[in-house]
């Protein structure tokens, strides 16, 4: 494995070739995986982090991160993406479906959807699993 050491703000870590970053907070107390590169790969399959809970209120979703006790309020775009995350759809499939629903060109939608997925990953609500792709 050809790894690269990185240091970014309060974090230090190692990027593996598959794009997964093992991140270690400098205080040494907290470890959390983050994902670089995987979201941009069409075959990646996002799935909910174990223990994450969500509640729907009409077209809004509030998500609980059990690990931190934090609540996250998803806006309409994020809610649409969230609704399509079922552990089976790939990033590409999600982009396609969102683009069809909101009637926006696929290329435009791709960046927005990936940004949402990135954000959901960085807050620990999602994990990305390339191996799970069909």
């Amino acid at each position: 494995m050809d790894d690269t050491s990185v240091r970014d703000g309060p974090c230090t870590g190692t990027i593996r070739r598959d794009g997964v970053v093992s991140e270690r907070m400098l205080d040494g107390a907290t470890y959390r995986p983050v994902y670089a590169g995987l979201v941009s790969q069409a075959a990646t399959v996002p799935r909910l982090t174990v223990g994450v809970r969500s509640e729907w209120f009409d077209d809004e979703v509030v998500v609980l991160s059990v690990e931190t006790g934090d609540l996250h309020h998803l806006d309409r775009n994020a809610t649409l993406v969230w609704a399509l995350i079922d552990g089976e759809r790939t990033v590409e499939a999600i982009v396609r479906e969102v683009a069809a629903i909101v009637d926006v060109p696929l290329q435009t939608m791709g960046g927005d959807v990936r940004a949402v997925l990135d954000q959901l990953c960085s807050t620990g609500l999602l994990v990305l699993d390339r191996d799970a792709a069909p």
């Binding site: 509640e55 209120f57 809004e60 509030v62 059990v66 006790g69 609540l71 309020h73």
Partner: protein
């Protein structure tokens, strides 16, 4: 009323009292303070049982008191005006920490139409002023600092501790201090539940509305509806113990905001604010 010296050789024991799972009592050497505490905490009096913590207030000089909880000093000798604020702030923390079967929010609770209106807010939001105003208008009193929501049923457990009003609003209720029950300690006014006109809310009351009060000088009282999702996030911010069991807390708060409409309530005049809330809610 001011605390006057009437010191006994042996302190008076008061209690036991219970608020959520906190069982406590008082040992007080000052007769006037003892009398006030007896009245103010009467709604929390409970059957004889083991007291977990005894709060002691002892006169150490003509004008100063030692305050301790379970034998541990809470401060050095302090003037009478600081005794009750110190006692209540420690009691508030102990009550919140004791909660096992309830999610505890930093909120006032007032009865309305057989249910409970939640008034969640930080210090200075006008929450206690709204509670006192509603009480004077005849609405049943539920709580000042703590709203306790049952994890299993989502219903409100009243915690009718004395209500504390800060100097900014205490003058609005000065008429209540004419009676023996309401008392100024320093510049804060403390109102026992009995000083309010509406009695107490029924235990296990359902939450029928949520209003987030925000005092703002000079504004007209206005009510703005907020979405259940927004209300959920804001209730979590006002929670004392959400993190102890986040899954259960998340579930019960979600159920609450689905049933009870939530509002932002901006006001300068608490009576007008209450009228606006009731006109909309009913």
């Amino acid at each position: 009323m001011t605390v006057q010296r009437g010191v006994r050789d042996r302190p008076m024991r008061l209690g036991p009292y219970r608020a959520l799972e906190h069982r406590f009592g008082f040992e007080v050497s000052d007769e006037h303070l003892s009398s006030w505490l007896r009245t103010a905490f009467e709604p929390l009096h409970t059957e004889p049982s083991k007291v977990e913590v005894t709060y002691s207030i002892r006169s150490v000089s003509s004008s100063r008191f030692d305050v301790a909880a379970g034998g541990a000093a809470l401060s050095g000798p302090i003037p009478a005006s600081r005794v009750l604020p110190l006692l209540l702030s420690n009691l508030n923390r102990a009550i919140a920490r004791s909660a096992r079967r309830h999610l505890v929010l930093h909120a006032g609770v007032v009865g309305s139409g057989g249910g409970a209106v939640l008034l969640p807010g930080s210090s200075g939001s006008g929450k206690s002023t709204m509670v006192a105003t509603a009480g004077r208008l005849g609405h049943p009193y539920g709580a000042d600092e703590h709203a306790a929501i049952g994890f299993e049923d989502g219903l409100i457990e009243p915690i009718p501790k004395p209500l504390a009003l800060k100097p900014g609003s205490a003058h609005l209720f000065g008429d209540l201090s004419d009676g023996a029950q309401a008392s100024f300690f320093g510049d804060q006014l403390f109102l026992p539940a009995a000083a309010l006109c509406g009695g107490l809310i029924t235990p296990s009351s359902p939450i029928v509305a949520i209003a987030f009060p925000a005092y703002e000088e000079g504004v007209t009282a206005t009510l703005r509806g907020i979405t259940p999702a927004e209300a959920l996030l804001r209730l979590r911010e006002h929670s004392w113990n959400f993190g102890v069991d986040p899954v259960r807390a998340f579930r019960i708060l979600s159920a609450v905001v689905r049933k009870a409409p939530a509002y932002d309530l901006t006001f300068a005049d608490s009576s007008a604010a209450w009228s606006v809330l009731m006109a909309h809610h009913t």
